[in-house]
Subunit: 252 residues, 8 copies
């Protein structure tokens, strides 16, 4: 409850329009729906500009469907479910249209055919193997109303592939740099552009990559300014944050 | 050299205005000044929107002064030097006015008295002990022309201190959340705002904080969306990135 | 053998009631049953206030049944078996009534229908995915005679869900805070209550959560006082300790 | 502000005793004092049963004195300052009587000569070298009104030293087990008592103790039930939590 | 585009042979083929002396076949595909002759029957279990035109097996030392030869080998000079680098 | 070739009994059999007092059978194969009698019915779950001619189980202490006996045991003297070393 | 108190020679001297064959002198104090003759001029830099009555230095192998001898040796049988254990 | 002793020129000088092509001077001492001319004024702060007779600085890539050249660089082929290996 609402409520109590008991109830009102196993945050759209996103990884299909149903009931569109298994996807599809990407496991329930594609986010990747994470990022950003360009397999071992696309990078409002192994892409991209760069380390590789640790540390220690990092393989987080930045209003 | 410049140059060659030899020289021209121990990137302002920043940590006062001199000679103002020791600061001060902060070691050489304070960046911290990192972030952002609000010691052990400032957070275009120990501040702030949050883990703490690792992992695994992370104690990086985001132009 | 028993025994020797040989045998008596593969601690109930608990993870169904049988033979009720597989549960069920929870794998053999539900323990969790660990904690506490309230999915990304339940937290004698990812819940809860908080990090998450390390370090470094930590995913340990604390007698 | 206070306030608004504006101000009132570099949590005593404790490690003597002054001004006694350096202690001593322990660095400002020594907490340690952490725990507990017994150098390499004190352990309401190196003390103590055990790993040792990691992991994996763990070298945390548990009221 | 080509192009523009537009196009030409999911680096042979190698691990058989086809179309022979699964190998075999090694998963597409076997590379291994990595190294080197001698199971626990082959080692131009567990082989070999030694740690072992970390650290800390290290299990990388070194021209 | 053999050989050359060529050949003779994939160390029995042991983990059944055959051909008895799978065991059984333990995977080929059971080695374990490692140790020691007593499930959480067996421990010439989780058993045993203690950390446990790291570090940091450590789960290594110590000759 | 003593005591009670009260007191008698800060284990000589050793690292000179005094009062000779600082050594020297080694910090108080030098222990080291740890091991073993041969700087980078001393190694009853960096010495020595090998990793090195971790892991994963490991830099522990093994009685 | 020498010796025995005793002595001769604290490897020059190098880090000035003296006595020139402190350098200078570099601590004793500068090694660095490691590499290579070009401060954040020097890189026979922080330089250089690249991670940086771990992992996981890695900050090792590769003879 925002401050101006508190003020209005108190004025109503003072004027007798609202009883103290009613006011107290309103001040306590829970802006979430309690499903037992989950407490759906129904105010997140208003508080944070986008609806709650469902982390599908350790939930049963029943739990996922329960939450999706509640969100659909409240008119939700472009409902995001990450790490959605094929089996759970099948069940969700019985509730509403579903745009599901096998590679990344990202599901978009009840996709809005009229959603915009504003601004410009570039998703660049070090190699073909990073595609699942890239697609999670790209599709999340698209579902949130952003225009996305994919620039895959531009790793630093063949630098000219990246340099040939400097124009594309230069036109971006945000770049998402996705790379495994040594994760050098983030630093190189960071040195070429003047917009924010979101680095996503991936677990692609073997041996001393230690499940993505090598790329993670590499990106955190980037010598290029303007680069920040999200969790290993967290394409969703990068896409979400890129959307926030891309859709910022200009300074008055 | 940008693409349109290449085009103009080639047209000049074709028209005979420029000889092939001259064109070749221009195509090869090095956009940096070689000081031997350093190669000053003179084009960074144009390429990335801000001048090169001097990492003062492992450089001798002589090397720092050499680089600063070259930048001053080219008319630089608000030249940033991070991790500037008291001793090196003294020497730099002989070259130009210096705004040096003892706590963070950040130096701003030849500060521009007329620099703007645009938009709004909030720097929130978990505790008093995080102040050196906070000040590095805040002063970096100010030097780059941003308006900054400091919100210190609002750690989650006394949540009401943070909640009492929800209005301040809500008015930010970017929030920098600085915390050591368990680094929970980033997630809590991330859940309260709708703007990008840059999390800075600090090495504050002892024992199993392992030099900032606890806060770093905590922030990377944040359950709140819209949060990204920079290196441990990297106040500069957070301030720089916050500036980029804060000063973004709006979508047309 | 407790000191007063030693004293009584020696007096009996001195008075001739007991021969030295008998006394020696009693002083040596082994308060355990040796099953070969296991040495069942039959005195633990008296020494520590609760019977031995069976760690089911790396034991064969035969071994588990052997130990359970011995405990049943001695009149045991509410015998706890952790990490009990479905297959082993089936075999245990042939010995006695079994209350088995699929999610957590916790089994309660020969449950006492009249067991009390004293005091008040609250089990709070960051998300739906933490439920297996939560249920292990909650059911352990219930089996040991405590009243338990479940408060699931109150993670800090939607703080109002937790704040709306401050009354519940305030009524607890002990709170068990279960969370994966960044584990911030423990600190936030720790700052809101005046009773002991037992933090349980879970392995929920991916990437840089490193199997629960992120939540573990986060909780160990909690800036809130009154918080202690058990092993990753150790719901049983938390439930057991909570029971001990909840059932403490008051100071005279 | 607690729920019953909200209710009373609203009734007063409804009755006209309080204007809506006054009510709004009260609802917003900040229960902390903002010193700029710190936000002193003035309600913690009421909310959590004990006043805020000052973490002295990365604060300047001036900052520490500032906070202490404010707490003294509000009538504080037995104000705890952890990691208080000799130099800072000297300055604090100019403000009020100070009980400062050189070994642990714990300071107790304005000690209450009449404070009680209730219940019974035993602080057991593996070796003489763990004394700084032990004393931090013991003195914290004493400052909070608990009776404490010290049982030092009872490490498991000479088990009879511990076994000779089983009576002491048995009489405790809480045991704090402090040990470095392999940290086995916690498990052994855990197997001997029926009260809660708080394990404190210390950084005592060398080589593969990795700054306390060995004892920390050992204690987290304790095979004894009823044991929980705080941060490496966190004597204060253990003493604080032990106090909470020791002073619990009995079940009605 | 090399410098002398730039010069020739500009002269052609100056002479009117080439228009500025054509020159610009040539300067921009992309030396790679964009397959969407991959950008095939067609200039690598010229730039680096060997064609691009396909990392088969996280690619679909379709993607691998797509890249192989493009390389075959351009006349490629001895095309290397690492980590090629049996299933993918079957599909690749439909495109061209394939020499596939089950143990290592290395595939050589369209092998050149006339390739040379120049110089001398010795692949030594600590044990039989290291064979998959050894074969990847040996076959890579052979495919790149080098003569290879295999010296397997000469680990330091039976030193005479290695010493009996000092003659073989002495005749090598490069030695690849492959070992898991404690990885001591690299240091011992390093002390016996005067040519470069490439150490390959393997993940062979268990427990505290931590997936190859023990051998990796051991090799990085080798007290013998002339030893460098590649990633854990990276037989390909060692074979490739050994080939480069073996085929170096002599100093004029 | 030992020094006295060299001397004899040279005397024979000098006397003309042996030609220089023959002598050279003998000096070069390889005391191993080269099977291609393995170099069987045929002199180990003479050099180290026991025949080579086959590490079965990453070898094919064919490779194992090849080595076993060669050892049988040379009259080997009690040939040890560690980590022998059921499938490989079946094939080995076709070559000679095999004593194979399913729990530990240890195989003893061509067991000697008359082997002795000298001295006394005690294998003590923390819990039932450590049995596979214990059996590997115990059976290895038995195959090498030692008398072994098993003392299982005497973990420190129920100390009296261990104390009741102090007599057994006191009669040992070597104790092998096997424990997972916090590995405290090694220190406690180390404090009770006066013979060498070999500590074997196991991977038993979960969460922060990190695959045996907790027990490993605990044992390495043991505060008890006379304790040394082998690799995680390395029952064989402990049994082998215990045999060496147990069978030492007395000081003259 | 040993079992036969218990028996005698009880017989005395039965015969009236001893009152029950006296018997109880004897059964409780503490076989240690409580100095407050330390509990001196006075029975260790009888229980474990050697007196308690003083770990000097985190003790004050006063504490060390207090313990030494008590041991001297009880007739102690060859009292070992590890990590004894020069300053503390000076104070100890006022109590009794002291043999103090600056390099290792090992002190031997009241050295017995007639102590024997039995059996044969070889201390081999990888390099000159390992000498402090070597000397701690060698001097400990000497103080405990063993004959010691030092074989320093025989690292595997110059294998012939070690091979030239195979005779020395072959004459040892125990070998202590001390090495930093990659720690390969332990495996190589382990392959050459038939007696027990105690490996001591040292922290000698830099970079990826991570304070001795590289040598530690290397030694734990040794492919040679008969090798066990003590803590990093733990020369004392190796010398102590070597003494135990060296002085074993032969099998009857 | 090489095989052909053995043959000649045996022929001499057979012919009576050499007695068996003399032959035995020669076969045993130790190719090192034993200084007690060190065993100087006098054959390394012949066996490995360069004299032994002195690791100065944990040696006393006396020990260093002792070894240097022995090498000088045998006519050594360009004797390398790494990590030579100013104090030790002063003492070494009394023995012979010394070329000592303060930055890296590398000393070259008795430098040969006529040493050649063959081939071409390029030392490239990410930043000015990496200079100590670079200089160690460059000076080592120069002392071993190689021509070296320094290319400092060409980190990937300003890629044009590196690209402007592609000609220099292309002319190298070996490139040493030195970088801290994220270590991306190695991969980028690796993608640009066709000669071997030796990557040297440095400890330059802070926070999550963990003492050079970030750069080390980054370089080990390089996606560019032809790159191998030495220890963190190991400039000497890189210079030594580069020399070996640079001076290779061509294939016949």
């Amino acid at each position: 409850m925002e401050q101006r609402d508190v003020r209005a409520l108190l004025a109503a109590v003072a004027s007798g329009e609202v009883t103290p008991e009613q006011a107290e109830a309103q001040l306590r009102v829970q802006p979430f729906v309690d499903l037992g196993y989950a407490k759906l945050d129904t105010q997140r759209q208003r508080r944070q500009g986008s609806a709650e996103v469902i982390y599908g990884k350790s939930k049963t299909p029943q739990q996922i469907c329960g939450i999706v149903s509640e969100m659909l009931r409240r008119g939700g569109t472009d409902i995001l479910v990450t790490h959605l298994s094929a089996q759970a996807a099948e069940q969700v599809r019985t509730l509403a249209p579903l745009d599901w990407d096998e590679l990344s496991g990202l599901g978009i329930v009840n996709p809005d055919p009229n959603r915009p594609a504003r601004g410009h986010i570039v998703v660049a990747s070090g190699g073909t193997s990073d595609m699942p994470v890239c697609e999670e990022a790209a599709r999340t950003a698209e579902a949130l109303g952003n225009r996305v360009t994919r620039l895959y397999d531009v790793g630093v071992a063949g630098l000219h592939r990246l340099l040939a696309n400097v124009d594309v990078l230069a036109s971006a409002r945000v770049v998402i740099a996705v790379a495994g192994m040594e994760g050098a892409l983030a630093s190189v991209v960071g040195g070429l552009v003047s917009c924010p760069v979101i680095a996503v380390p991936t677990s692609v590789g073997y041996g001393a990559n230690f499940g993505g640790l090598s790329a993670l540390l590499s990106m955190l220690n980037s010598c290029a300014s303007g680069v920040s990092v999200v969790n290993i393989d967290n394409g969703f987080g990068a896409g979400f944050l890129a959307s926030r930045i891309n859709q910022m209003e200009g300074l008055a």
